[in-house]
């Protein structure tokens, strides 16, 4: 009999890419992101104009194999050193940093930068295939438990282990008997392009404002490319409020799992809950269709989440299409996002009518997440807080300082 299980392919290498603070040159990094994903890497792209602190935070939470920086407007010697130093100081010096800057980084700079903790500099004219092969070879590593990791990195490593299919026996490392916060887990699903990520980010800002000490975790699931196995996990780029130490953000590639979540998502949820760190967890599914049930809310088994938020945009295609969406029956909360769209008026009425058929007193929340300070998002957050009995009394408008640099 043929072997039932082919050998498990090595887990994809995870890389964080970013452009340093005060630098908006993203055309090189965009090209390189595409190439990395094409070569089977999971690319967590943080975006341009990123501070060293934000890069280090993301590298830790994403438990990446390596950080790649693309710098084009100078100051690279100081900046690369700052990233390497902060990684080291926080006990995460095992994460190497490499980078490139076309011609702006000279050979002489490279010598200084290597002495100061940068692993490698790529110069203009390096063939992309050679670069990819080198990255894959040099930065591969096994995701083993490491007792030295503390805080978010320990959580992140536990999730990495869960992702590599080695089970959850590492869970004990992150369980903290001292911290036992009540944690409310909200699953967020909806079709691709409905604005789930933006809505979650706006809800995150409401949480941070209303609770000046609490922490929130976000699990963002995105599809892997079926051919290369790589993925560009870009949710962090537009998650402007997630750049805060009180936010734990983890991007998960689905790696061929077709449920709408990574196969490791249930374990990752358990890890985050067990840590006792978080008051609220949002789990974002990939864009889902009519009969998906990523959070297992139908049927008799244990649900993955405490509540489900279904998000859709006004262009869902008509009444019949609405009828087919199973999650509209099961969702605890339904948001119609992009309400500044001309079709929103009709959509509101149609969706509310569709919800009324369920006799569950589901109320539709109209939101325009792309608009800052949207009152619809305020109302949705209040509804979530009520449902999860979140402590939101301690905060106030000033609790979340608006960081000027993203």
């Amino acid at each position: 009999m043929a072997a039932a299980h082919p050998p498990r392919p090595a887990a994809p290498l995870r890389i964080l890419t970013a452009v340093p603070v005060c630098d908006g040159h993203d055309s090189a990094v965009t090209t390189i992101n595409i190439e990395l994903a094409r070569h089977g890497l999971e690319v967590i792209y943080l975006g341009y104009h990123q501070s060293a602190a934000a890069i280090v935070r993301a590298a830790i939470q994403e438990d990446v194999n390596v950080v790649g920086l693309s710098s084009y407007n100078g100051g690279h010697i100081v900046f690369f050193k700052e990233v390497a130093d902060q990684l080291k100081k926080s006990g995460n010096g095992d994460i190497p940093v490499f980078g490139g800057g076309g011609g702006t980084i000279t050979k002489a700079d490279e010598r200084v930068m290597k002495r100061q903790g940068t692993d490698r500099i790529y110069f203009a004219g390096t063939p992309l295939d050679a670069m990819m092969a080198e990255i894959k070879k040099d930065y591969a590593r096994a995701a083993k438990p490491n007792a030295k990791f503390k805080g978010d990195r320990a959580l992140a490593r536990a999730i990495t282990i869960a992702e590599s299919g080695l089970g959850t026996r590492h869970l004990s490392l992150v369980t903290s008997p001292q911290k036992s916060r009540r944690c409310f887990v909200v699953g967020v699903a909806g079709p691709g392009g409905a604005g789930k990520s933006t809505l979650i980010d706006e809800l995150t800002s409401r949480f941070l404002r209303s609770n000046p000490t609490g922490r929130i975790a976000l699990l963002a699931n995105d599809p892997s490319h079926p051919d290369s196995g790589g993925a560009i996990l870009g949710d962090r780029v537009s998650a402007i409020y997630a750049q805060d130490d009180r936010v734990f953000f983890r991007s998960l590639a689905t790696r061929g799992n077709l449920t709408g979540l990574s196969a490791a998502a249930p374990a990752a949820i358990d890890i985050l809950k067990q840590s006792g760190e978080f008051d609220l967890i949002f789990v974002e599914s990939v864009g889902v269709g009519q009969e998906s049930d990523p959070f297992r809310i139908f049927g008799k088994g244990r649900k993955l989440v405490d509540a489900t938020l279904f998000v859709l945009a006004p262009y869902y295609g008509g009444l019949i299409q609405l009828q087919k969406i199973a999650l509209l029956n099961g969702a605890d909360l339904v948001a119609l996002n992009k309400c500044d769209h001309p079709m929103a008026h009709t959509a509101k009425a149609e969706i509310q009518a569709r919800l009324d058929q369920n006799h569950r007193e589901q109320k539709l929340h109209p939101t325009t997440a792309a608009k800052h300070f949207d009152p619809g998002v305020d109302a949705l957050f209040t509804a979530i807080a009520k449902l999860g009995r979140l402590d939101v009394s301690r905060g106030g408008e000033k609790a979340c300082s608006m960081e000027v640099s993203s």
Partner: protein, 609 residues
């Protein structure tokens, strides 16, 4: 249909009109006679000159024809220089040698339309101004005094006062030099400006009220704050009456920032509001100032093809015109205050890009926005392509830039910046900045190509064929964006960004595959070691000095700044003109304080993936 669809239709309608007029010229004897008479008059107005070797030449070349259809085709399709639809040139006799008025937007705006004599009347308001130099050399490094010294160095070779400022990263993102984590970027790639005091140091020793002075600032998201600082600094030095005399340009093109360059602070609607506030304030108060420079440069540098560059830039310009008009502004008042900025690379389309853009802008402004002649003219600044320069065998960059300059001048750009050969490694060092400036002088002053006869090339069959193709390509993009709901709707759908990224990716792939030869990089490579050029870098001591100056400024104004910020916040919240208040706020507040205040009111920009 969005304005873009109407503009594309208006161009088609205009082209049909030209074709009909050409046919009429060939069939209607009366019309043919009129055209011949006009043609003879134009020919008679052309003065003769001669080359240094004694060859007699006309100061303006016209197609050599007497056939009425060809005359109509030229006059209506291309336009006599300075006449609708301006494909040939925005003004007559640009770049010509001595004693003749060269292109000057503000001086000629009043005289060009009526110019019958080949020697355009010099505007009576500027009796001293005769020659408008097109050369603008972009400079910015270190602290304000370092850039000031570079300005003085570059200025030695210019007849008129031309100061073009590059800012460092923290300034471009509206951050103070003491913002956490930005110290290494202070003074890198441009000058660090935190306060009105820095602005005063930047232009120390220059008489900004000279009629031949022109200051340009490559500044976008914080442009209103920086221009307010410029005004405040000028008032301190020259008195409050100087403001209407300040001449220059600030880039302030937020649409292209969102589409390509990524220096965005506030959400799109707030960014556009602050920009429109500034334009509306400048139109009556600073009649010689260009409060926006609608820029394709960064769109092209980020990867766009020449056609995409032109299409996105023009469509952004039409969008600003639409926004201002919707706010009740008069197109004939703000129209002449809009200026444009294009990249010029080595692709063949660059031979005609400026010409095609002038034509499309003129038709759209006239036929869709109802603009009069002064508001139809696209005033163009060109910069040679930074992306075309490479580090390997970098002295080849001198040839690349020289060729790009030649093409920019063939498009009769109103002003021009030439890149330094060492830019792939560093902010230009003195040596290469000077070579870049001399490149322009060699082409315009040393060579005879441009100084004796205007329009040596216009109307050549190859150029006309290219113009038609490029125009068609641009209109196709307009129509595609129209189906998406116009420029801003398309932008929200990431249309421009994804097109630019796709084109940039293709460009890189072509280089890697060797389909796009880059000498010294993928063809005829001589494997020379990278050169060691002296780098213009800002020392940590200077960076700390900037921070200590900023802290002293904040300390000095610690009592007054909270009130000033509160006033600004009130204006921003009540929907008033933010720029009108910024002029006061900058007296006692730093750039970073102002950015933080406005961010609290309008929120932050959310980047698009």
């Amino acid at each position: 249909m969005s304005a873009l669809g109407k503009i594309a239709d208006s161009v088609d309608a205009y082209n049909k009109f030209v074709a009909a007029e050409v046919a009429r010229a060939r069939t209607e004897e009366k019309f043919a006679a009129e055209l011949r008479a006009k043609w003879a008059k134009l020919h008679a107005s052309i003065e003769m000159t001669s080359s240094p070797t004694g060859t007699p030449l006309p100061r303006l070349a016209l197609p050599s024809t007497d056939e009425p259809g060809a005359i109509a085709e030229y006059l209506l399709g291309q336009g006599f220089p300075g006449q609708f639809p301006y494909a040939t040139a925005a003004y007559r006799e640009m770049y010509l040698d001595r004693e003749v008025e060269r292109a000057d937007p503000s001086a000629l705006a009043s005289s060009a339309a009526a110019a019958k004599s080949p020697r355009a009347e010099v505007s009576p308001r500027h009796p001293a101004k005769v020659n408008e130099e097109p050369m603008r050399l972009f400079a910015g490094l270190g602290l304000a005094e370092d850039t000031n010294a570079r300005f003085k160095y570059l200025q030695r070779h210019q007849k008129s006062l031309r100061l073009s400022t590059a800012f460092d990263g923290p300034t471009l993102y509206g951050l103070d030099s003491d913002h956490e984590g930005v110290l290494g970027k202070v003074g890198e790639g441009g000058v660090a400006i935190d306060t009105v005091e820095d602005m005063t140091r930047l232009f120390a020793g220059f008489d900004l009220t000279r009629t031949d002075a022109s200051v340009s600032m490559t500044m976008n998201a914080p442009a209103p704050v920086i221009l307010a600082m410029f005004i405040a600094a000028a008032k301190h030095r020259f008195g409050p009456g100087c403001v209407p005399n300040l001449r220059g340009t600030i880039q302030a093109d937020m649409l292209k920032e969102v589409q390509a360059q990524n220096e965005v602070i506030f959400p799109v609607d707030a960014s556009l509001r602050f920009l429109c506030d500034m334009i509306e304030w400048c139109v009556p108060n600073m009649p010689k100032w260009y409060p926006v420079s609608i820029s394709g440069y960064h769109i092209a540098e980020a990867g766009a093809t020449p056609v995409q560059q032109a299409a996105f830039t023009l469509s952004n310009g039409f969008t600003y015109a639409g926004l201002l008009k919707a706010r009740g502004a008069d197109v004939n008042a703000f129209g002449p205050r809009l200026s444009f900025f294009l990249d010029c690379g080595l692709d063949v389309e660059y031979l005609v890009l400026g010409r095609v853009c002038r034509r499309l802008w003129a038709i759209g402004m006239r036929d869709v926005f109802g603009a009069d002649a002064k508001a139809q003219i696209l005033k163009l600044h060109t910069q040679t392509s930074g992306r075309s320069l490479i580090a390997a065998e970098f002295q080849n960059n001198l040839t690349r830039t020289g060729l790009e300059l030649m093409m920019a001048y063939m498009n009769y750009t109103n002003s021009c910046h030439s890149n330094s050969a060492d830019e792939p490694f560093t902010t230009p060092t003195e040596k290469y900045a000077l070579l870049a400036s001399h490149g322009q002088s060699i082409i315009l002053e040393e060579s005879g190509v441009f100084k004796h006869t205007m329009n040596l090339f216009g109307g050549a069959p190859g150029l006309l064929a290219l113009e038609r193709q490029v125009e068609k390509g641009i209109l196709d993009v307009f129509r595609e964006m129209d189906t998406l709901g116009g420029v801003i709707a398309a932008m929200e759908q990431r249309y421009q960004r994804s097109k630019i990224q796709e084109a940039g990716h293709n460009y890189e792939k072509q280089i890697y595959a060797g389909q796009r030869p880059i000498i010294g990089l993928n063809k005829y490579v001589s494997h020379e070691p990278l050169p060691s050029v002296p780098l213009a870098r800002t020392s940590p001591t200077k960076q700390r000095l900037q921070v200590s100056r900023l802290k002293a400024f904040k300390q000095k104004h610690t009592k007054k700044s909270p009130d000033a910020l509160q006033k600004l916040e009130n204006v921003a919240r009540s929907g008033g003109n933010v720029f009108g208040e910024l002029v006061n706020t900058v007296e006692v507040c730093s750039l970073g304080q102002i950015t933080a205040c406005l961010t609290n009111v309008v929120g932050k920009f959310r980047p698009m993936v």
